[in-house]
């Protein structure tokens, strides 16, 4: 096996097995910190040994066994074995590793503990990317423009809280499950959105590493909870958004609005997969949640080969459905954008103006107003709205787009 093949095997094992190894060790040793460190050491050992010894026939089992040995070494070293760890150590010698995935995948517990509501949202994001996604602390720190030491401390504090407060390592009860799943999905949606519209003057406008990781983790949850409609909805929403990535930023680094995108550059496979998921949910006849509705809206957009073929009445009808679930002014703003296509910019502008009280600090509010005012031929007001939007926008490609639009005003 060539060096390249070995490297490829290690990367693949990391993608497939990291969360499994951390989950299995957390179960066995009752300690996230030990599990994380031992998993990292096991992968480091693989990098050292596999080029010489060859890739083991079952990389996952090799990694779990190696990580377990590392964990036991650490426990011995620290010589502070509580009863649980002693017990685990005895188990180690004479029992084979527990079979995984038979009834309930261990990784699900890992996801739920990382997204526990007793942890701050930013902590849940960081912990999920580290424990489930296998990203390193420096990678996560870079992704969220935080100092590495600060990110390290955030994760360390979270692990300490989980241990001290005894946050349980289990899948929530049926009664708590919907709320807890929705908490997990918010974490993943936040990771995706940060990748999709990255903030900061020195950041790439789109971060495929983050969108890709969010999709990968959502796929994992989808595999673990195939019956959950909102999980399917969020995955479809991400896929249909990701499908447009290549068309979303121009060669000059400018955001390209949906209406102006080269639809031939959309990823047809991702669009097809997203559409399949949306159809699957429609077929269940179960009332959709917000992610499913958002996915359906995106399915309407991605079904139109030309922007003029967009079924705007369908889009507005879906937004009406969404407004009933989610009264947020941002949903109302997005609805107004669709209303402009159906009933004209004047009707949309009246709806947008009603949102000023809550959205005056949000760049998209001003960008939407600017576009509507431009279409109504109210150039001076449009210019002022573009100025405000540019001032508030955090994404470099979006700022470039808004500046061009402003400068094109007569």
């Amino acid at each position: 096996m060539s060096a390249v093949d070995v490297r490829e095997a290690i990367t693949q094992a990391h993608t497939r097995e990291w969360a499994r190894v951390v989950a299995a060790l957390t179960r066995r040793f009752g300690d996230l910190d030990i599990a994380e460190e031992a998993a990292a050491e096991a992968f480091a050992t693989a990098v050292e040994r596999w080029p010489a010894d060859g890739v083991p026939p079952n990389p996952g089992a090799w990694l779990t066994t190696t990580a377990s040995r590392k964990a036991i070494d650490r426990i011995r070293r620290e010589d502070k074995r509580d009863d649980k760890q002693k017990e685990a150590q005895m188990l180690y010698d004479d029992e084979p590793p527990e079979p995984l995935g038979a009834i309930e995948d261990e990784r699900l517990r890992l996801i739920f503990i990382c997204c526990h509501p007793a942890l701050a949202m930013e902590t849940r994001v960081a912990l999920t990317l580290r424990m489930v996604g296998g990203l390193t602390v420096p990678e996560i720190a870079r992704a969220f423009l935080v100092q590495e030491t600060a990110m390290g401390q955030r994760i360390t504090r979270a692990k300490a809280k989980i241990k001290a407060a005894r946050i349980p390592y289990r899948v929530p009860s049926a009664e708590d499950l919907p709320g807890r799943v929705s908490g997990v999905l918010s974490v993943l949606f936040l990771v995706f959105n940060e990748g999709y519209l990255a903030t900061g003057p020195d950041t790439d406008p789109v971060r495929p590493d983050l969108t890709g990781e969010a999709i990968r983790l959502t796929r994992l949850i989808r595999a673990l909870m195939p019956q959950d409609g909102e999980v399917a909805g969020l995955l479809a929403l991400m896929l249909l958004t990701e499908a447009r990535r290549a068309a979303r930023v121009s060669a000059s680094g400018e955001l390209v609005a949906l209406a102006e995108q080269d639809r031939g550059a959309w990823d047809a496979a991702l669009v097809a997969e997203g559409h399949r998921l949306v159809r699957e949910r429609l077929a269940t006849k179960v009332a959709p949640g917000r992610y499913q509705i958002l996915a359906a809206i995106n399915a309407v957009h991605t079904s139109a080969r030309d922007v003029r073929d967009t079924d705007w009445s369908q889009v507005v009808a879906l937004y009406d459905q969404l407004v009933r679930l989610d009264r947020s002014p941002i949903v109302a703003l997005n609805r107004a954008v669709a209303v402009a296509e159906l009933d004209g910019p004047q009707v949309a502008l009246s709806a947008v103006d009603r949102l000023e009280g809550t959205l005056a600090g949000y760049h998209a509010y001003h960008a939407t107003r600017a576009d509507l005012l431009r279409r109504l031929g109210r150039g001076q007001q449009a210019r002022a709205a573009y100025d405000k939007a540019i001032e508030l926008a955090g994404n470099t490609a979006e700022t470039a787009y808004l500046k061009r639009r402003r400068d094109q005003l007569g």
């Binding site: 407060a165 005894r166 946050i167």
Partner: protein, 107 residues
């Protein structure tokens, strides 16, 4: 595992009769389900005295050790298997006493 459930409030004064009745019901439930360890309401922070005997001679200072807008008006100590159980009980406690509560594990 034991948890301290502190009741957080910004005004001195007793619970209303309705609140007191709801707290009684909640306490009975804690006892019946084996979660009860101890509970009590506290007099206002202005009744507090701080003692520092680290220097050999006990120093007494009138008032709470730190002035804050919100303070601990009372507390429960509960026995719970894990934080999920404690949070569920604390949520019921918050509803019963009609105040915010904070959950902290004992070491």
């Amino acid at each position: 595992m034991q948890y301290l459930v502190s009741v957080i409030f910004d005004q001195p004064g007793l619970a209303t009769p309705d609140e007191a009745a709801a707290i009684d019901v909640f306490n009975d439930q804690l006892v019946a389900e084996g979660h009860w360890v101890f509970a009590g309401g506290l007099a206002s922070p202005s009744t507090a005295t701080v003692i520092d005997n680290r220097g050999g001679e006990a120093m007494f200072t009138d008032g709470p050790f730190v002035e804050t807008k919100e303070f601990i008006a009372g507390f429960w100590i509960i026995e719970a298997a894990d934080l999920d159980v404690a949070l569920k009980l604390a949520a019921e406690g918050s509803k019963a006493c009609n105040r915010k509560v904070e959950v902290r594990p004992f070491l």
